[in-house]
């Protein structure tokens, strides 16, 4: 028999076997189906199974918990800073230690909390919201979490071992270069960037592919929830912006380790090259943090005002245009560097223009409140707090978009006030609201409404106390990144108020955590849809089973559960004995392919350990690039290589 004949005979045998595969359908439904799916989809038990999980819900939970831990750590750093700044000419904390504190605070909050928590929430909820069983590339998803974890550990272990970075979270050259930052502190910072940026890029690819290809049948792009739109825009922004910081931090390590001259002006390099590349990433980064929060606001506002967001197409266009415009603003961080003034005017205009789509989104949310019947439970309180607070930050942003105004306000506490208003008001408030909202879906229990309300008011008022005075501190001449300030400039009062406010904020965040922990064990048991919301994640149990949905749901509106009339339309035919999910077409979401879902695997963890060894050792020697890449190549090949080489009637990824 020739090879071809043998293969054809094999094809026929496999086709016959295919007929006998058990699939979900009218004949296999309900509790029987659920039991079989549970057996197929649950991951292996024990510690190894836990490390090998590819369940997006477990990975998403890990992301969120790890990010909240980093929030707490970063918050403690800020309390230390505020204690030092509570009084003028203080020597509570040494200059070197203080410089490490603000570097660690900024780096932790920006790289280890803000972006990962958004990714984590998205990774958890997006497949549920889209009506599918899994993200795309679940092993890549697991890998991205481990890379994030190892990057965070690198930074914090270094800090605790007293070799943490002290160059600011933005690490301007030549201060961060080999001449002015001897030792390994700056390299550790730069390599932490590499870890977190690889993690974010991997998560971005996972999210884009999931959102484009794995939606429920009938969920056209025009019916997709606004949070999914927000994450799609954000993931594309990550793809275009993160390479910039990867490139500039790689060039920094290269200058420091092997003597390249990218930032060394004596050899025709340029300190501003760093700033351009950093801020080309840095500006989109803040929208990467903010846009998911706008998604949260849309989700909460819809559910608690009992109607979909007003003018959905406008909100979608606002998200997309914000994402695009965000790439044209970066020079507004460089107004004091002496670049041509005419060029600056472009960036002023662009920076102001980006306020328009955001302003339109705000109108749409307010119009939804106007046209609906708002219920002010805790998540909706956070939305109101967001509007009141974020808009102040947005308007102070409009002020500093003006070059003459920015030349006074740049690098002062006015800027510190501005970005905390937009980051805490604009991202953390919606985040706490959405964690309260999705807590029942994630854990199966409700958070305490009373504790939640107390925490909200404490946070809202404490935040204003902590950060509003900073506007005045800046106007009175207090620069940023100073470990102390002299008496007699009028800075004592704003700083003292900020310190008190910071402790109120910390208490409020602590209260949120206490609420979460308490509710985990004693909270009211949550039904599938406690908020009577409209989107698909509420069509399954709280928490969902490993396979998310017993049958793949079908949608024909933007608010499927509100239009369902007692029954959920579904499609059938996916196998129950192996993990399988459904792919649909990109725009119209018609069923397209059946896609096998990988089994749990330790290779993502093993590869990330190999990559971690590679990255960390290359801080110390360039040869690590050569030797370290070999284990990485082996682990990557093993990841891809199937466990069995025989053909199956349907594809299986082991």
């Amino acid at each position: 028999m020739t090879e071809l004949e043998r293969v054809r005979a094999e094809d026929q045998r496999l086709a016959k076997e295919r007929q006998r595969i058990a699939r979900d359908g009218p004949k296999l439904t309900g509790a029987k189906l659920e039991a079989r799916l549970e057996r197929t989809w649950r991951r292996p038990p024990g510690i190894l199974g836990w490390l090998a999980t590819v369940d997006h819900k477990e990975i998403g939970r890990r992301y969120i918990i790890t990010a909240l831990l980093f929030l707490a750590l970063g918050g403690m750093l800020s309390l230390a800073m505020r204690l030092q700044l509570a009084q003028p000419d203080s020597n509570l904390i040494s200059p070197q230690r203080y410089n490490e504190l603000f570097t660690m605070h900024g780096s932790t909050m920006m790289f280890l909390f803000a972006v990962p928590v958004m990714e984590g929430v998205a990774v958890f909820i997006i497949p549920l919201m889209l009506g599918t069983r899994s993200t795309a590339f679940p092993r890549l998803n697991a890998f991205s979490y481990y890379m994030y974890l190892f990057g965070g550990l690198l930074l914090w272990v270094a800090f605790l071992l007293n070799i943490g970075p002290d160059i600011g979270w933005f690490a301007y050259t030549p201060l961060s270069g080999p001449q002015f930052s001897p030792g390994k502190r700056a390299d550790i910072w730069a390599q932490m960037i590499t870890f977190t940026e690889v993690s974010a890029l991997a998560a971005a690819v996972v999210l884009i592919c999931t959102i484009l290809k794995a939606r429920a049948p009938g969920m056209t792009l025009a019916r997709m929830p606004l949070f999914a739109w927000a994450m799609l825009v954000v993931a594309v922004m990550i793809v275009f912006s993160m390479p910039s910081i990867a490139l500039c931090s790689g060039m920094l390590i290269s200058d420091r380790l092997v003597g390249t001259q990218f930032y060394n002006h004596y050899e025709h390099g340029d300190a501003l090259l760093w700033q351009h590349l950093f801020w080309f990433f840095g500006h989109p980064e803040v929208y990467i943090i903010f846009l998911p929060a706008t998604g949260f606001v849309s989700v909460i506002t819809e559910t608690f005002c009992r109607r979909p967001i007003f003018a959905y197409p406008v909100v979608v266009l606002a998200l997309i245009s914000t994402g695009i415009l965000a790439f044209g603003l970066w020079v507004h961080h460089m107004f004091a560097t002496g670049l041509p003034r005419v060029g600056y005017s472009f960036y002023t205009s662009a920076s102001m223009t980006v306020a328009i789509p955001t302003g339109l989104q705000i109108f749409c949310w307010l119009a939804t409140m106007w046209d609906g019947r708002p219920r002010f439970q805790v998540p909706m309180l956070y939305v109101v707090g967001f509007i009141v607070t974020f808009v102040i930050g947005g308007l102070s942003g409009v002020i500093i978009a003006s070059v003459p105004l920015d030349l006074q306000l740049h690098d002062t506490y006015f800027i510190v006030a501005h970005f905390h208003y937009v980051l805490i008001g604009g991202a953390v408030f919606p985040l706490l609201g959405i964690l309260t909202y999705w807590f029942p879906k994630i854990t199966g229990r409700m958070m305490s409404e009373t504790l939640g309300k107390i925490g909200f008011w404490m946070l809202f008022l404490g935040f204003q106390l902590a950060f509003f005075p900073m506007h005045f501190a800046g106007l009175l001449g207090m620069p940023r990144r100073v470990y102390t300030y002299p008496a007699g400039l009028g800075l004592e009062l704003p700083n003292l108020l900020s310190t008190i406010g910071a402790f109120v904020v910390a208490t409020a965040v602590g209260l949120f955590v206490v609420n979460g922990l308490y509710s985990l064990y004693r909270g009211a048991i949550a039904p599938p849809n406690p908020w009577e919301a409209s989107t698909l994640e509420w069509a399954t149990t709280s928490p969902p089973p490993p396979y998310n949905f017993a049958h793949v749901p079908v949608v024909d509106s933007k608010t499927p559960l509100w239009d369902a009339e007692g029954e959920l339309p579904v499609v059938t035919g996916l196998r129950v004995d192996e993990k399988e999910t459904l792919l649909t077409t990109v725009v119209a979401a018609s069923p397209d392919l059946r896609e096998p879902v990988p089994a749990a695997s330790l290779w993502p963890l093993i590869l990330s350990i190999a990559v971690a060894v590679f990255f960390i050792s290359s801080i110390f020697s360039p040869w690590a690039v050569l030797f370290g890449s070999i284990p990485c190549a082996i682990a990557a090949a093993a990841w891809f290589w199937p466990k069995e080489l025989n053909r199956n009637p349907e594809p299986v990824i082991t």
């Binding site: 070197q96 201060l175 003018a311 302003g359 109108f363 609906g372 003006s402 106007l475 620069p479």
Partner: protein, 322 residues
């Protein structure tokens, strides 16, 4: 001289910052109006819920409908926001152009070089014999536009005297500049405004705006070499300073000490501050000379460990450098 204007953006003491006030107020007013509009709409939405019958909610079965007034509102809102932003952008551009025009006719040229963590100030003159070098302090004549060339010897710093002008970075390998036309006699404080390492917080400078005759008097005085020491203690200090470690970094005009690594000390004692951070006083001089590392840890000036008699001598000599 009231404290509020000492390092305040509202010091309003130079041509270049006067436009700041006006522009800032314009922006604040427009932004406040926008904010009030947002809050008013928010409150209206919250309050409206009491009138349940008109709501377009899922409970009413009308969640796919919208109040037609909202559509008009959206367009109006977009128009208002867009117009407001355009107006602000134009205001900003106009202010920027007018500040640039004001900067076009300087009469005095100074070069400030940033170092970790002090300011090297050099007054440029066509004639070398008229050049003045000092540190951490500028004297400017009122009403005269001065162009300050900004350079850096090490990392990025930022020159910022809020009462007189916006800031400008000092970038190694690049030349930037800033023009200031002070309009009010007085003393103004500034600080480095770009994180430059360990002692960034202690890199302040003082700008003394004098009347034109006073400024000329100051300049003439700066051109004089250091006075010869007259007391034995000061002489001992002079000998120490010009023959030991100090002269490796510092220059004192009229003495063998001529290194330019550190600040020029020729008229040290007549300056208002010491080490870019402390008021000039005998006590501070003692503390600084004895142990700079404990006052400003990480500073480039080493703690040498002077014997007490050496310390007294050196401080006595430095105090003569008025």
């Amino acid at each position: 001289m009231s404290i509020q204007h000492y390092q305040s953006i509202f010091g309003n003491a130079a041509t270049e910052v006067r436009q700041f006030n006006t522009l800032f107020v314009i922006f604040l007013v427009v932004c406040a109006v926008m904010y009030v509009a947002v809050i008013a709409f928010l409150i209206a939405g919250i309050a409206r819920r009491r009138r349940a019958a008109e709501a377009n909610t899922v409970e009413e079965g009308r969640h796919h409908e919208s109040d037609p007034a909202m559509r008009t509102g959206l367009i109006a809102w977009g128009a208002v926001v867009g117009t407001g932003l355009v107006a602000l952008a134009i205001a900003s551009f106009v202010a920027d152009r007018s500040m640039a025009n004001a900067a076009a006719h300087e009469k005095l040229s100074i070069t400030v070089t940033g170092n970790q963590w002090w300011w090297d100030v050099q007054y440029n003159a066509a004639d070398n014999s008229k050049m003045v070098r000092t540190a951490n302090e500028l004297h400017l004549p009122v009403g005269v536009p001065v162009r300050i060339m900004l350079k850096s010897n090490d990392v990025i710093h930022s020159f910022w005297v809020p009462s007189l002008a916006g800031k400008q970075d000092l970038i190694p390998g690049r030349d930037t500049d800033i023009t200031i036309t002070p309009q009010k006699v007085g003393i103004y404080r500034g600080q480095c405004a770009e994180y430059c390492g360990a002692e960034h917080a202690k890199m302040a400078l003082v700008v003394d705006v004098d009347s034109y005759p006073d400024f000329i008097k100051w300049w003439q005085h700066q051109l004089q070499t250091a006075p010869k020491p007259t007391t034995p203690l000061a002489l001992a200090g002079y000998n120490y300073v010009t023959s030991r470690n100090c002269s490796a970094c510092h220059a004192i005009a009229g003495t063998p000490a001529s290194a330019t690594v550190g600040p020029d000390l020729t008229h040290l004692a007549s300056r208002r501050t010491l080490a870019a951070s402390m008021p000039m006083s005998e006590g501070n001089l003692y503390g600084w000379v004895a142990d700079p590392q404990s006052i400003k840890p990480g500073t480039k000036m080493p703690t040498i460990g002077l014997e007490p008699n050496e310390l007294h001598a050196v401080v006595a000599y430095l105090e003569t450098l008025k």
